[in-house]
Amino acid sequence: MVEPAAIQSKPAQEDPVRSLSRRLKGKYGGRITGELRVSAREGCYAPFPDDLDARLRRGLEARGISRMYSHQRQAWDAVRAGRHTVVVTPTASGKTLCYNLPVLQDALEDGAKALYFFPTKALSQDQVAELMELNEAGGLGVRAYTFDGDTPGDARKAVRTRGDIVVTNPDMLHQGVLPHHTKWAQFFESLRYVVIDEMHTYRGVFGSHVANVVRRLRRVCRFYGADPVFILCSATIANPDELAAELIGEEVTTITDSGAPAGEKHLLLWNPPVVNADLGIRASARSQTTRIARLAVRSRLKTIIFARSRLMVEVLTKYLKDVFDGDPRKQPRVAAYRGGYLPTERRRTERSLRSGNLDCVISTSALELGVDIGSLDVCVLNGYPGTIAATWQRLGRAGRRERAALGVLVATSQPLDQYIVRNPDFFLGASPEHARIAPDQLLILLDHVRCAAFELPFRQGERFGGEDLEALLGYLEEQGVLHRESDQWHWTEDSYPANSVSLRSVAEGNFVVVDATDGGRRIIAEVDYSSAAETLYEGAIYMVQSSPYQVESLDWEGRKAYVRQTRVDYYTDAIDYTRLKILERFEGAAGRRAEATCGEVHLVRRIAGYKKIRYYTHENIGFGNIHLPDQEMHTTAVWWQIQPSSLKQAFASRQQALDGFLGAGYAMHHVAALRTMAEPHDLGRAVGDGDARWFATVGASGRGQMRSLDGGELDPEQEARFRPAVFLYDNYPGGVGLSAPLFEQRRAVTAGAREMIRACECEYGCPACVGPILASEEVRGFSPKMAAVSVLELLDDESAQGTH
């Protein structure tokens, strides 16, 4: 009985992932706008190098490895020749051996030491576990330790003096190791390798800080006579060699051809169906994502969902828990995972995923990195992650081991998403983005000059970063932080500067969320400074594992929000106003009718109130006021303006022109993010007057409103001066280098925005092109869509002219 059944069932046993893919295509063919099938790839191998230590060879063979992938061999050859090397290959391609082998070899040969750093503590722990396996398999006797905030005080000395490989993170290196380098003297003296894994995460502000931490590391190494070789690993980005060179301040050898085999992959681009053709309104991505996830989980496939915001993680988790975790006596099948949860809770979720106890996890980008969560089958992206690199990185979470995997990218109604799913060739054929950093961003650089001066006095003629170091030191001397004596600057403050510099932000001070339910004082989450104002205002609903908490009071100075558990059927969404003043023009390009300018601006952001939005129906059920200090920022921006005469000619009223600017700005923001290869929140958008006399927002009525600085409404027709501008600004204090590439791409931004709006299927404008509009526009006979196109056509004019 057993024999024939087994034979019969074999052809019927279709791979469950392929089967799901086939069913989705059969049932929802109309929603799938593009498809990509990456067939399985054969491996490309190389023999072990002849000089590989016999113990290492034994260890590898004991783990079933008898040859190397070609890229591992290339890395070995480059590193052994003393060249800084960056390895860029896909998830699960055996990247870690690229650095572990040369490091272990040298540790065995002559006691060389290595420092590894990973962006998070969880990754460090995974790494040490893997090193120990190889270590035991080969009987190598190499000592690898993690050194982070969790390392107990009495173990620290052993790590410093006995560790061959110390695994840490940039924050710990910055605050715990470099300021105490004298205690690490022995380690630094023999330091031969520095390994930086997940290099692609070191971009933007964080990357700019990390580049400076590396400058400090190399400075301390020089003091101890060491000049370590850097080995970097990265997920696919467009400019790994450039980023690596900027991070370590030297040229690198780049290895990009993976020799690892890979399983078959299916990718579906999914556009939710149109539910209101007139307004161009589509079903929500959220509804589609939960539908796909339900099907996948019911097919017994391990599923991961990536959402773009913490809020969306909580909403999706609630919906899926309502379906799968109805019975509180049973072990949960669905869990949320995001930054802000406490480490212990995250570790628990990771363990449940590895052991297969969870069927579905909903995460922000927090799980995008190489945290070990075992093998997953299906990955659903609720919304385009913002960059091509991040999209592939997240999709790589499914199918790590050699088996078929399915990815579904579900588009939201946001313009960029719509652009991507409607032009599948753009996404499927596009190269990934550039990762940009600005290590010489003045405030970031200054912070690290302070930290470096604490570590070792600066000498005249020394170099640190691209700014005039002597001027920076002079500035710190004026402030009494440093004291100059002949050719050296010495630290003269009773403080520990690294403690006041956070690598993750330009601004300072995370907020903690304190649960005061039943008079308790339990910390349940952390929120970074930049998003505190929009998530922790009094009255806000803050969610943890889809349980709602209401913020009762916010202690802005003390950086604490007191919350209480609540039962509500709504969530909250902040409304913010931004106004800008132009401080300085760096460069401009003017035509007859319009001009674009790049320069420095002063920006004030006010979170004025919030909306309460009911679950499931998503109707707006109320407003609340928020009283928080304005947030000020100096940054760089690009702005576009039209000559008043041309504006007057093109529009019947100033109100229409204003609507046109708001619609154009909406589209430009999204195209700009795509063009400058930044994430959408790295850029900010505003429409207003360059002298900050007024700014414009889309009011509750759905129409543009001109407001004075105190928020009062103005009538555009009554204003003496009417020169609206679209501002796209670098969303970090001081800027992190996004405005210059944006200015270079100014023509592509206006042309791309115009193209996007024109190609949109809606009639008068929709969230996929110019932003949400009112149903009554049709009746009024006014098309916000055409107004935006008119603005963009006028703006496009300058491009024919040269810069000035």
Binding site: H180, K183, L442, F454, A471, G480, E485, T492, H602, E632
Partner: protein
Amino acid sequence: MSQLKARIEALKRQSGQDAGGEGPQAALDELNRRLERLRCGMEAPAAVAGRPDPEALAARVGGELHPEGYITVETLWPAGMPYGNWRMGGWQDTVRYLPGATGRPVSEWVFVDTETSGLAGGAGTVPFLIGMARHEPEGLRVRQYLLGRFGAERAMLSACLPRLEQGAGLVSYNGKTFDLPLLRDRLRLQGVARGLERGLERSCHLDLLHAARRAFGGIWADCRLGTLEQRLLGFRRHDDLPGAEVPAVWFEYLHRGRTERMAAVLAHNRDDLVSLALALPALDAVYGDPLAAGADVRQVAACHRRSGRGDQALTLLETAEAGLNDAGRLDLAEHLRRVGRWEKACAIWEEQAGRGCMYSMERLAKYHEHVRRDWLRALAFAVRLPPGGERNRRVERLQARLGTQEPLSLSC
């Protein structure tokens, strides 16, 4: 290659790349302007005026300025001079009871205390004042080394090091965690000869904070040096500069050349050293007779035992027996057991066992089994022990010896 680059760049700088009038001051102004804008006008830099002058500093503190730029100040506290309830002197007295120091005259010890630019620790913390003291025939001689400028640190450390290593060892207050590691870090940072540094590493070190904590940790509210001074030496300082203000005085000197309060820093450091120098004989007396000093006899006795002086510990505990708590009495029993004074030990255990002390029951079970070989009495105690592998094995063994397999239900 990079040297060439550096030279070219240096030449460029010198040869008027600043043709547009951009001198260093202009560059600084430009930078200030940019920073101020980025910060939205917050944090205006404080005005700085006046330069540090080592000569003026030396004059202010009454010290000798050395050509390298550090200053030494020598002070003698003559023998016989009163200090609280104590008098200077007794340089030949031998330390008799204090563990880790016994058998050596106080004159062989070097007392050390530093004043630093901060308490945060880390490579940016500088010990700008290193004070040392020694008992000599004429009295207590205090030598202080003060930095007149940063550049003198290496010379100053080199001058201090032989003195630090000269005696039998160092005596400090909280030096194990603070002063000594800091000095080692500075020696390393300043590249002072490695052999010397290792010498410091090897030298014997007595941290009196630890000795004070053992004796008075559970009795005094805290064990700061100031508390010890008042309670043990009967000395109270007047016009003492609080330790927390010390870094500010150093920065006042560096940033503005001000020296007014530096004399107070030296006086504070000197007072610390004098207290430290007298704390050694004072604590020695405490360890000799903790009962008289109102110290924690049990902790002091335990400390004696750990340093191999069980007899001393036993004598102490027996003398203080009347005032001992339960834990102290058990310690006493333990010492009695070690020297074979079973009778008295058993008396304590039995008294404790009567109050339900499991440890005492176990001790009695062992005593009756191994010393008296009285299986029945041993079993009577063994059966009352909390269940567990060891207890079960003991009960089984005793039952076998008694030749009975029946579970006994003896009541005591």
